[in-house]
């Protein structure tokens, strides 16, 4: 060893690290969403595939565009825009016009994420911001449901899918009746419950044999995909668990009061994309609390609001608003739920 040829790099401890990178976490969330994507394409055909591709590409393009606009290094490699695109598509009806899907993707990234300063700073789940926007902008298209497992779904688009930009999509009611395997009502289980008082069988809901958004359908598959992420330690299981607990308790309360009027907790849990929202939407790391008690409060709040909005609100898209509300309440929840530290004294001034 020569005397002065050592170059020494100075840093402070710790010198070792072991953590998945942000990109690895995001990529794994994408992997976990892929089975749901395949299942929904199987269910709804090429229209769903086209919609998923369009929203995802729209999200990526928007992110790239704003990075370019603000002269920042491109952040599309962290895969968070891909997740937003996939999540967004999963919440839309399969026959949703593609151009509206592109608008939704743009809004999600532009208003839900970039506006706040990009990944890590968004107050709300970007995908839900996008959906909330188009819910207001295109109220008809977003509540037009088409049947699953249509006969020609792999060769033929749902008529509304290919609507030209700024054009009204073709009505699908007639088409739906033609392609449906058995009697199709054009309503989701939630709408049936709300407006016609029909409760769909829980078992059908669990397996996903119902009408609904692109990704909300199979509870079983959602749980399996969520379990993969929990196993990889990339999903905080406490959030879905708390949402489920909040929903079940609130629903049970009403069901107990009047079982004839209010649906059972099982129905509440398995319908309307609640499972999807609990596992993939509410658990958005950035927009949910970090404190242990806060996570529980947040989840229960989301569950409770979902039930209230579903039962007493004018709309059926309860989970989305419940989560957005929960996101907004996150800072205040965190303020009041700071963890008790080791060796905490009863009174702060009680120092000897």
């Amino acid at each position: 060893m020569a005397k002065h040829d050592l170059k020494i790099d100075i840093r402070t401890s710790p010198y070792i690290r072991k953590a998945p990178t942000v990109a690895q976490i995001m990529r794994n969330v994408v992997y976990a969403l892929l089975p749901l994507v395949f299942y929904s394409v199987y269910h709804f055909g090429i229209s769903a595939l086209a919609l998923i591709l369009i929203t995802t590409l729209s999200c990526i393009a928007t992110e790239q565009f704003f990075c370019w606009m603000s002269h920042k290094k491109s952040t599309i490699n962290d895969f968070s825009a891909v997740i937003t695109g996939l999540l967004l598509a999963m919440t839309l009806p399969p026959g949703f016009p593609l151009w509206m899907g592109a608008v939704a993707g743009f809004t999600a990234i532009a208003m839900g994420k970039t506006l706040f300063g990009g990944l890590g700073f968004n107050v709300f789940n970007p995908a839900l911001v996008g959906r909330a926007f188009i819910q207001a902008a295109f109220p008809v298209s977003i509540t037009t449901w088409t049947p699953a497992l249509a006969t020609d779904r792999f060769v033929e688009f749902i008529p509304s899918t290919l609507a030209l930009p700024f054009m009204k999509p073709l009505p699908t009611a007639e088409w739906s009746v033609q392609v449906a395997i058995d009697g199709f009502t054009g309503a989701t289980p939630l709408a049936l419950m709300k407006f016609q008082g029909i409760i769909t069988d829980s078992y059908d809901l669990f397996l996903g044999n119902t009408a609904g958004s692109t990704g909300e359908t199979s509870t079983l598959l959602i749980l399996v995909c969520g379990a993969y992420l929990v196993y990889k330690k990339m999903l905080d299981w406490r959030i879905p668990a708390a949402v489920i607990i909040g929903t079940v308790i609130s629903a049970e309360l009403f069901y107990f009061i009047d079982p004839a009027k209010y649906p059972s907790p099982a129905f509440m849990l398995l319908s309307g994309g609640l499972m999807f929202a609990a596992v993939f939407m509410a658990s958005d790391m950035v927009a949910s609390p970090v404190t242990p008690l806060g996570i529980f409060v947040f989840g229960c709040l989301v569950g409770f609001l979902t039930v209230i909005i579903r039962l007493f609100g004018g709309l059926t898209e309860a989970v989305m608003y419940a989560i957005l509300f929960g996101n907004a309440a996150t800072p205040i929840i965190e303020t009041y739920t700071q963890p008790r530290i080791y060796g905490a004294r009863k009174k702060p001034q009680d120092k000897s």
Partner: protein, 448 residues
Amino acid sequence: MNLLKLFGKKSFPHGIHPDEYKAETNAKITRRLPFAPEIIVPLAQSIGLPAKAIVFRGQHVARGEVIAEADGFMSVPIHAPVTGTIKEIDIASTAKGGKQPAIIITTSLSSGQRVHDSGECNDFLQMSREELVKAVQNTGLVGLGGAAFPTHVKMAIPDNRSIHTVLVNGCECEPFLTTDHRVMLEKIDNLILGIRIAMRTVDAPKAVIGIEDNKLNVLTAIKPYLPDDGTITIEAVETKYPQGAEKMLAYSLLGIEIPSGGLPSEVGLAVFNVATLAELGALLPAKQGLIERIITITGDGVKKPGNYLAPIGTPVRFLLEFAEFIGDEAELILGGPMMGMPTRSLDVPITKGTGALLVLDKRATKRDDILPCIKCTQCLQACPINLNPSELGLLAAKRQYDVMEEQYHLNDCFECGCCSYVCPSNIPLVQYFRIAKTLNRERHLQDG
């Protein structure tokens, strides 16, 4: 609620499980290193005031002789690590950063390097507690686990407090480090004697040795030496970082929390590292001073990793040559990989608190871009004292250091580094907290 307790494994909540890297050195018997031609003895080696030099240039000193005396109670004397001549008393680079006053000794080649013998000895059984504290101070002992807190200060328990248990910390939870492990296998007699002296000094009826369950051979080795009356026991706790922090060990072994901002004596505990007590057992009865310590030299960058007994003040360069340093770019750390100090120069000496010299390969520590916090809660789930590092990190980025201290318990952070270890965004959290604490301290000084 600690689930592990239900299964009978003693531990604390949170923490991390880093790879241990201990297998390379934990079975290697401690070897004595030769004396470096020049020894640099910094006057400030412990927490508290630096020692005052009492030697002059050109003076001949014998190994073990006092060369700097304690400056008041919060200070310890320093003994000559080698027989030789005082070259000069000057400022020298130290591991702490800037240059500090140090006594530089040229090692005598002709001397046999026998330890200076005063011919006296301490009969600790006949000594009062005050005399014992004084005798401990005279050994120059400080916490050898890394903190370098003067041992006698810990032993001077205020009259209004009584100690029920001496906690003997043999966890050594930092990866790579194996010095305590070797001490517990090689110096059991000294350790038990040291524990007895400590128990007497703090007037504690019992002592518990806590080890991590990756050192179970220590358990079988020590058990035969324990007294039959059960006053000294040994227990294994879960292998987990930072189990060796006194707060964590107190909770794991006894379920006691040391109050925030308080000392262990507040809840009837006195905590000492095993190596410290082993030295105490060796030094105090013989009325000698601390002149050498065991140090683990390991990492990817050395060909001969092992545990070495080295005189205090041996320059890092000498140690590295001995352990056959390889590679041209390396990261040198005095201490463990989680809490150790980086070295600024190869000429810095090891001091009383240096437990390891780690040469990490560059690849193991490659730098990545810092990304925004995604609030994944990993840091909250790693923090052993249940802080909110995520929020603290965001506040640090905004330089709201006062808020960090007043509302988010910044001063309870003991800088174990778990949060930085698990952060997917590569945020240097604990590094931020160190800066925040330093600036707060300065601000408080200015405010008076």
